[in-house]
């Protein structure tokens, strides 16, 4: 059942999800949605890793995915903590309005 799906289908799905995530990062200006799209891109990369892991019958890809999941969890925790902190000083979730560091 599993072997009937060629590995290239999974790779194509991963590429499509990555491109959708990148498009979302460009199109939306809301910080929270941008973080969500970054998570989606990471997940697309995870899918590609696992497709190659399945194709090459090696467990290394799964270890990589494990590490990426840990990094994604830390990234989203710190990103959202920074966002809440930022919101105390200036209520804005639009990236175009967050320009206090602009000279």
């Amino acid at each position: 059942m599993i072997d009937q799906v060629p590995v290239s289908y999974y790779l194509l799905l991963g590429a499509i999800l990555f491109a959708i995530g990148a498009g979302g990062v460009l199109i939306r200006q809301n910080v929270i949605v941008i973080l969500m799209c970054v998570e989606m891109m990471m997940n697309a990369v995870n899918l590609t890793f696992l497709a190659f892991s399945r194709y090459l019958e090696s467990a290394t890809g799964q270890i990589f995915v494990f590490m990426i999941m840990a990094v994604a969890a830390v990234e989203v925790a710190i990103g959202l903590a920074l966002l809440v902190e930022l919101n105390r000083h200036k209520p804005a979730v639009n990236v175009d309005e967050i320009n206090s560091l602009k000279g």
């Binding site: 599993i2 498009g23 929270i32 949605v33 467990a59 995915v65």
Partner: protein, 180 residues
């Protein structure tokens, strides 16, 4: 045949949910679409002989990250942060074109330089015999034990950083209260 049909249904749901994350005006709906996307990907992970990571995907992404997103959206009251009247602006069309170019590049890179390597011993038969978690655990705690420890360090740094940020935030609030 059944596997392919299942794959196409799941792929369609995943792509639809990914588009839903971008094109929903309400952030709560975006977060729920993200949850659907992660759930579908967990099923795909199981189909790819990675049952352990499918469970971890549900626990970490769907369980922790989406809840964190929903929590922050509710906390900031930012459900309708962006007033979007139309998606069909010149800027957005250019960005969609750019992501299509990216898709072409990624697709070409993957298919032109397809990796042909020596096959390992992580076959479905071996997984059935020994157990998936045991096989992944053996590799994780022998060949990759250093990177496993590094992930522990990274998580500690993340926890300390978030605690510091929260403490800082509390101090700022107290300072404001005193000045009032």
């Amino acid at each position: 045949m059944f596997g392919q049909t299942l794959f196409f249904i799941l792929a369609a749901i995943a792509i639809g949910a990914a588009l839903g994350v971008i094109f929903n005006k309400n952030l709560v709906h975006s977060a729920l679409c993200l949850l659907l996307n992660f759930g579908v990907l967990a099923v795909l992970f199981v189909m790819l002989n990675a049952q352990f990571l499918g469970i971890v995907q549900v626990l970490v992404y769907a369980g922790a990250i989406v809840v964190l997103f929903l929590f922050v959206v509710m906390l900031l009251g930012a459900e309708l942060g962006e007033r979007v009247t139309t998606w069909l602006t010149l800027r957005n069309i250019i960005f969609v074109g750019l992501s299509l170019v990216l898709l072409t590049f990624v697709g070409t890179a993957v298919f032109e330089n397809f990796i042909y390597g020596a096959k390992g011993n992580f076959t479905p038969e071996a997984v059935q015999q020994v157990g998936q978690v045991q096989l992944v655990g053996t590799v994780l705690f022998t060949d990759y034990v250093l990177s496993f420890q590094m992930v522990g360090v990274l998580l500690s740094v993340g926890v300390i950083g978030v605690i510091w940020l929260a403490q800082h935030l509390e101090k700022g609030k107290m300072g404001r209260e005193k000045s009032q």
